[in-house]
Amino acid sequence: MNVSETIPSTLQELDPGPERIGAHWFSPAPMSVRQLAQAMKNCSARFVTITAYQLPRDEGLCLEYVWDLDGALLAFPFRLAAESIETIYDICEAADWIEREVHEGFAIDFNGRAYEPLLLREGDRIGVNLREEVK
């Protein structure tokens, strides 16, 4: 399948190339996370998940936003300058639980939304499970 034919026009100038280790990678992500969420919504891509991880050598945190477009997996990595990023929950309802999970696991703030505890209980310390320096 030629992914370039199905990706939204806002991304078409970028060629993700063939599938590599499981996904078509748009790295670095070509737009803001909210613009991306809107573009994906416009082309009826299905939101899959957000994978958060810490980069080696204290390079900070990275969030990979993953969408499915007609069976092709599109991955958009975002390096975080601070420990926060804008929420996409208001654009993409499916991102609600994973934003809450990432917030609890990595202590990353998704600006513009309120949280309710998901896996943790009210008052539990966030970032303990998956952030190196908090463990």
Binding site: I21, V48, T49, T51, E64, G71, L120, N129
Partner: protein
């Protein structure tokens, strides 16, 4: 006057912890809030402390029903990082195990759904059939729950006599098609108990990003075995049942029809099982640094794994798991709004939730 009605953390049917807090007016649910995390085990963190052999055993324990699916997805991701391609026979055995697991999961779910409908005889019949599916799984793997079949580069056990397994599958198929499928597809009792309740509209299904039978019952044609084939699914002929009503009955119909399709795939895979090795035989596995993604169509829907590796490391630096119930469960809120309180256990069960997977 509205009142708050908590259901859980002990589920009335599924014996797993989860809480649905409903705001009701009379007998009608006006809104609901879901609480999970009662069984949170921190498996994603634990995975970072295990080497590439141990992590397979760990991830097999994410779920007691689709344990094989978790190791399959994980191994597929690790194979991408290790540059390994399993031999054709291993890919067919993976399909056989995955479809047997789907049968097992759907039959178990059918039993629980029957129990919630007050159809106890059907519950017993389904669990009797489930035992027989587990007998087939035991014949192949030696185990009834955690099968330890997948490894990097293939599978651990061969199917030396596919014909005997095929005979077991054919007997099983006849029994399932004679008992479960007619009841769930044409019984008036099932229809009256399940039709028009717990509706998830097509629009809401898209918006919530639901997966698997829950999505297919709301008119979404998405099945990774078709749209992004893995293992040997590209060689298999099968249909993807899709219903459009979005109610409990549609979810039931989709699963009943999937049972038939699973048997069809099993017969093909056992018939055409290619000769050859069952794994690459590489004693040492070297991973390139980076992140690999893999996904598989589990009985409940798409399972997604993202596995990251650092240079010269024996352990993964990150394993992220997105399970199907994690994607489907938020949609329960929309299914129960407007429903009668008495219907809510069945509505919750209709997505075939797995709290063990969700909590990880």
């Amino acid at each position: 006057m509205s009142y708050k009605l908590p259901m859980g953390p002990y589920h009335p049917a599924l014996e797993e912890p989860y809480k649905l807090e409903m705001i009701c007016e009379g007998e009608t649910v006006c809104d609901a809030k879901l609480h999970i995390g009662f069984n949170f085990r921190g498996i994603e963190h634990l995975a970072e402390t295990r080497n590439y052999i141990q992590v397979i055993a760990l991830m097999e324990r994410v779920c007691g029903i689709c344990s094989n699916i978790h190791t399959l997805t994980l191994c597929q991701a690790m194979e991408k990082l290790a540059g390994q391609t399993p031999p054709p026979r291993a890919l067919y055995i993976r399909v056989i195990m995955a479809e047997l697991e789907r049968l097992h999961s759907h039959v178990l779910w059918a039993g629980i759904a029957a129990k919630l409908m007050g159809f106890k005889t059907m519950f017993m019949a389904c669990f009797g059939l489930r035992e027989k599916v587990m007998d087939v799984l035991q014949t192949i793997s030696g185990n009834r729950v955690n099968y330890s079949m997948n490894r990097i580069g293939g599978v651990n056990r061969d199917i030396p006599d596919p014909e005997s397994v095929l005979k077991m599958v054919e007997i099983l198929e006849r029994e399932i098609i004679d008992t479960i499928v007619p009841v769930f597809t044409s019984s008036g009792t099932v229809r009256s108990r399940c039709a028009h309740i717990g509706v998830l509209t097509h629009e809401k299904a898209v918006s919530c990003g639901v997966v698997g039978p829950t999505a297919r019952a709301s008119g979404l044609m998405q099945d990774l075995r078709k749209v992004a084939p893995y293992a040997a699914y590209a060689d298999m002929e099968f249909n993807v049942p899709v219903e459009t009503d979005g109610d409990v009955r549609a979810r039931l119909l989709v699963r009943a029809l999937e049972i038939i399709e699973s048997c069809r795939i099993l017969r093909q895979a056992l018939d055409k099982l290619p000769p050859g090795e069952i794994h690459t035989g590489d004693a040492k596995v070297v991973f390139m640094p980076g992140t690999a993604m893999s996904r598989v169509e589990a009985p409940r829907g798409e399972v997604f794994y993202s596995v990251s590796w650092k240079e010269n490391s024996r352990n993964p630096s990150r394993v992220h798991v997105r399970t199907p119930t994690f994607a489907n469960m938020p949609a329960v809120r929309w299914m129960v709004i407007g429903a009668r309180v008495a219907d809510t256990p069945l509505i919750q069960a209709s997505i075939d939730p797995c709290y063990s997977c969700t909590d990880r």
